[in-house]
Each structure stands twice: as C-alpha cells, then as structure tokens.
Symmetry: C2
Subunit: 308 residues, 2 copies
Amino acid sequence: MYHGGMTNRLRIALPSLSAVLLAAAPLVAASPPARPLSSADIVAQAPAGAWAAIPAEDLLVIDFDNGRRVVIALAPAFAPVHVANIRRLVRSGWFAGTTVNRVQDNYVTQWGDATEKKPLPEGIAASPPAEYARRLEGLGFRAMPFRDAYADKAGHAGGWPAASDGQLAWLPHCYGMVGVGRNIAPDTGTGAELYTVIGHGPRHLDRNIAVVGRVLSGMEALSALPRGTEALGFYKDGTPRPAIAAARLAADMPEAERPAFDLMRSDSASFADWLAARANRKDEFFIRPAGALDICNALPPVRDAQRP
Amino acid sequence: MYHGGMTNRLRIALPSLSAVLLAAAPLVAASPPARPLSSADIVAQAPAGAWAAIPAEDLLVIDFDNGRRVVIALAPAFAPVHVANIRRLVRSGWFAGTTVNRVQDNYVTQWGDATEKKPLPEGIAASPPAEYARRLEGLGFRAMPFRDAYADKAGHAGGWPAASDGQLAWLPHCYGMVGVGRNIAPDTGTGAELYTVIGHGPRHLDRNIAVVGRVLSGMEALSALPRGTEALGFYKDGTPRPAIAAARLAADMPEAERPAFDLMRSDSASFADWLAARANRKDEFFIRPAGALDICNALPPVRDAQRP
C-alpha cells in the first residue's frame, strides 16, 4: 500500500508477490517470520478450507457492448424475492439492450431500463417486500471487535459484510455493493434497475433499500465511467453509454465458460487473521496501525477460482 | 438522492433545484415548511455569513492536457511545510509535464513525477517533518455527536473535516482528500507526488501520511480514469495518461481567470443544520433516517463563488 514512487525498492516491496512472501516469511520451521504476515500474505497462504465456492446460481455475469465484463455475487440470504426477480429478468434476456444511465461521482453507477417502460417478463414480483434487513438468527453473524459509525455492530456472515442491531442484520452500502433502485416508498424496486456504490459508503442508505449483491470483478467497467452531467449524475439524453450485450447467471453458461469465484469463509482462522492484519497493519510502511477497521474496508477476500 | 428511474415525478423531486425549494419551503412567513429542509435546501438557503472564501493562496489549480481542470484547497493549518513545498513546486513550474501514474480502484489516483528523477527546485524541504497530526488546541474543532470508526472523535475545524484523540487533530482520508506520497518512514514525501482518494475512505492511512488538501472541483478528472494494470494500480509503461499542462495557485492567476470557492463555516448555524439533516434524512425517499454520520459523508459544503 505504498504511496511513494516507482523505485526498484518499492517495486520489490509490493504485497502479494511471491517474492515478498519468500522474503517476509520463509517457509523454514525453525526461523520465525521477520515480521507479521500482511493481509495480502494471509490471503495468499490461506488453505483450501478457508475458501468457499460461490454457487453458480448466485453469480450474475454482465457483458457490456464495450467488451467489459462485470461479475456480481447475489445475496439470496438477504433479499430472496429481489434476487429471484433478478434471476428471472436475467433468464428471460430482459437486461440485454438496457444501459448504464447514471454515474454520480462518489455515489453510484446505475443501470437498467432508463425509460422504465420496457415491459417486465411474466412472473416478476411487481412489489417485493421491503427486504432491507433480515433476522440475525441463523446467519452465523460474527461481529468485529470495532466500532461502526452507523450500526451497533458490524461484522460478517457467510462471506458477506453485515451490520446489525442485535435483532436484525443487513448488507451495508459499501463500495461495490449492489442495490435495487426504487422510487418513493412503499415501492421497493423490482430489480430492473440496479446500482453499485462507486464512492465512500453511503451507509445512510442502509435499511432504506434492498441490497442484493457485491461486484466481485470488473468494477472498473462501472466505476471509471464518465460522470453524468444531469442532476444526480444521470446521463443527458443522447450521451453515449455502455449497453448490456448479455446478462447471464454463471449456472446457465457452458461449464467451460463459467466464471468461478471463491469467498474467504467468515468462520475461518485465515479470515480472523486477515481482519486482525487489516486493523493493525505492521509492514514497514505503517508507522501507526489504526487498531480499527471500518466494515467497508473489510469486505471478505475474493479469489478467481479459475486462476488458483 | 433517489435511486429510482427517470420519471417526471422524480425529475421534479430532485434536490437543490429552485423549483423544489419553492415547493418544499415557500418563502411565506405564515406557512411553515411542509417538511424539514433537506441538506441541499440548507446549502441553497445558507446566508452569506455562513460562508468563508478560501484564500487564493490556498487554491491549487491543475490543468491537464486533456482539457480537464482540478481545483484543490490546500491545508496549511495541518501541513504547513508540505504545503509550502507544494506552493514552491507549483510556482517554479515543476509540475508541468508530470503525469498521473497510478489509478487503483477503490483506493487512490496518484500524480507527479513517475521517474522520481526530475530535479526538485531550490528551496524545497527535502525531508519535511511528519505533519500527520497537529495540536488540537487553537483549531476551533467541533466534534460531531456521532461515533467514528477510527478516531475518538470526528468533526470539523475551519471548513475542514478532522479527527481527533482529544490532544491532536488530523485530516481524515476521505474521498477527494489529497495526500503526499512517500516511501518508507522516516521519509514523509516532499509534495512532488500527490494522491487523492477515489474510493471508500482508507482511514487506516490517517496519521501515517501527510494530508494536505481536498479536491473542490473537477474530481472526475481523477476518479473516472482507467485503472492501472500494474501492481497497486500503477500504469504500465507506455500507457497513455493525463499530463499536467499547468499547475498554478489561484493567487498567481489574473484576477478575471481565478477560480474562487467558498466553504461553509464549521461554526455557522447553517452547518449545524446541515449536519443534522445529513444524519437524519427526512425527505419522502427515506423511511429510516440513519441517526449517524460518517465524517467522510460530512465534508463541508463548497460553492463556486463565481456562480453564486
């Protein structure tokens, strides 16, 4: 996490390169590590059992007409009706041809049917319940031992970040989390317009909107777009914008073409080590470890299961 | 802050349009507002005394060769030696021809001399002190009545966001804040490489780096760039990148050409109202106000003083 220049010294010191692992923590039982493992080291060394494959049914693969691909993990445990809607929209081919419509700096990129007039396929729940939070019980929630600015507790459950008041749990609005656009309540949105956070976590939206997933890869296709010039970052009519060429569930793709991702298990020892290392960075750059960790800086590690 | 579509109803309900002000808070003494003022309403209605002009000596104006302009407010109260260095680099024309070198998604965009070989002008402090925090006393710090994930207190001072442990105060790493790239401590950086945060606030960097300013306008020129493909988001050699055509202090520009910005005073009644409205949004979209406010979602309002 160096902020300095590109000297050879720094190039060599980049985290998560195997050279660093060898230098920092030689795999010789007799010699203790020269310094604590970094969070990147912990990810690189995590055993197979620390990872859980994301079901192909929960992987939404969006291919844009500019050649970019975004892969999103869906969260049926938190928003089952909205996720069912999204799967149905995807499987009916509904998203094809819809576009990115809004890019508001330090806030969200939103995509779907800008006209709100494209007929929805049959079987869509037009008015899903307000899946803004769910019962904490049964989630396997593990609170982090750190203050959260917005919730009583923040932590993790099943590979997801979560916030809780002790009774309910919800997905927090962090960078890369995906939510369902809606109009004025009691409308909760159908899933036909989705957005992802591209700035500092707008956590005031928590429990006001259905959060349904997290971008796992290809975030740049949504975060590095030109910002919209209309109010709220909407693109002005006529502005060129990425269109969705195809949106599919990984489960519906030929096996050889399917993306596959693993999430680090929230209940693994590696994850506990990772959180501790994130909260107290001890590499040679940091002179004052934070002793704290915002949930939005603690989204569980993801790995591309096709490039192990 | 609607996430829904682009119906006329929503178009009309956008915040900070004068039409909304008229509808939401008619300026007729006898009729109380139909609903509490939104944070955007409060900004729009703030009296002249709620604003303070930023000194032209503290406005860094960077023009890129792609026609984009970024204006940064410098923070001499927090990092006087680094800011003096930056002013000297700017006034000697040193930044011209340097480039953006690193764009790491959800982290930082960094610019300056990628080679670290361009000779620095005379008079630059080669090893500035570690201006990572300063004495709280004398800052006029006002703590927000909300939890902060990283510091004992977070609040504002002189139009700046600040975090504090009761003795010291420092500028937090929030979206759009500007810091000085450095190598391994005790190096603190000269100011010849700067970065801004383009994702969720990496607050673990607080007190580890000199934070020297805040982007006031033109953030898109730094946040919407293609991400670098090398480790840590550095641009690969040969990748096209924006170059700085001119970096100037507003004070050195012809008066007619100078950008000018006002910051809302941290000690104004409008600012207190604004914070309260940000923490508890009560427009018709929000069904559950947060009752909380992260400092990175509470950067003081800025206005373009040339378009009042």
